[in-house]
């Protein structure tokens, strides 16, 4: 058996913010994807539970709705909107990449090497997705706070 000393960085390797500067926005996009995925899953489970109150009559339904009618509730929902938009947008970028679009064409690499797959198009997509997610959050807040 291999010794496990330092054989893995562990979760530190994922989270360590020092990495993102050195490794570029793609890695940040990945960790954000993961966090939003988990966040959405948590929200989704909660959402299913919440909507099940519809079976318990109007009083219970309204009471459970109350919870999100507060300021914190609105902020929470706004975050969910943001997560959803980011996760969707970035998910579409990833899927396009994984289908082979937007990666550039393989070919003889010339020094100094610049990886074609980490190109401006992809980076722009990530920034745009983050931007759109922020806009959506802002719009959602505007609607909710009326």
């Amino acid at each position: 058996m291999e010794k496990e000393n330092k054989a893995k960085e562990g979760i530190k390797g994922w989270i360590n913010p020092a990495k993102y500067g050195k490794f570029g926005i793609e890695r940040f996009a990945w960790i954000l994807m993961r966090i939003t995925g988990l966040g959405l899953l948590a929200y989704f489970i909660g959402h299913i539970y919440e909507t099940s109150h519809i079976l318990d009559g109007k009083a219970v339904w309204d009471a459970s709705l109350e919870m999100t009618q507060t300021t914190e509730g609105h902020i929470f929902l706004a975050i969910v909107i943001g997560m959803c938009v980011y996760h969707t947008g970035n998910g579409i970028r990833l899927m396009l990449g994984q289908m082979g679009y937007g990666l550039g064409k393989p070919g003889r690499p010339d020094y100094p090497y610049k990886p074609k797959s980490l190109n401006m198009k992809g980076k722009a997509c990530i920034y745009a997705t983050i931007g759109v997610a922020a806009l959506a959050m802002w719009y959602g807040m505007a609607v909710m706070f009326g």
């Binding site: 979760i11 899953l41 519809i54 079976l55 339904w61 709705l65 579409i92």
Partner: protein, 117 residues
């Protein structure tokens, strides 16, 4: 231990994601047709549920997102630790949770749309 080839699982993962995008858009657009606060009124919600098309859509969305979400969770957990027992537990645990969530959500949708409230 593999129930399905990983590529098939991941095709489902992407497929459900795409399906979810589509349906979520509809879901949200329907909310948009009404005023936000109004759309959440008890009566309106019940009415929506009782449109059969809408109910089917909700059911689909429920399945898609559950499959996608729990598979996502499985992926993350698989990468956290390795070992045959652990990996088996993760796979079956995620399938079971997914099934439970779908069942629970379906109960709401079916009972509501059949007017059992």
């Amino acid at each position: 231990m593999m129930i399905l080839r990983e590529s098939i699982v991941m095709k489902i993962h992407y497929g459900t994601a795409l399906g979810a995008v589509f349906l979520t858009v509809i879901h949200i657009l329907m909310r948009m047709t009404q005023d936000f606060h109004e759309s959440l009124q008890y009566e309106n919600v019940i009415a929506n549920y009782q449109m059969i098309g809408y109910a089917i859509m909700l059911e689909l969305l429920l399945i898609l997102i559950s499959v996608h979400g729990f598979n996502g969770l499985r992926v993350i957990l698989l990468e956290m630790r390795q070992g045959p027992t652990y990996e088996k537990a993760v796979t079956y645990g995620c399938i079971a949770s997914m099934a439970i969530l779908i069942a629970y959500g379906s109960r709401t949708i079916i009972m509501t749309s059949m007017g059992m409230v």
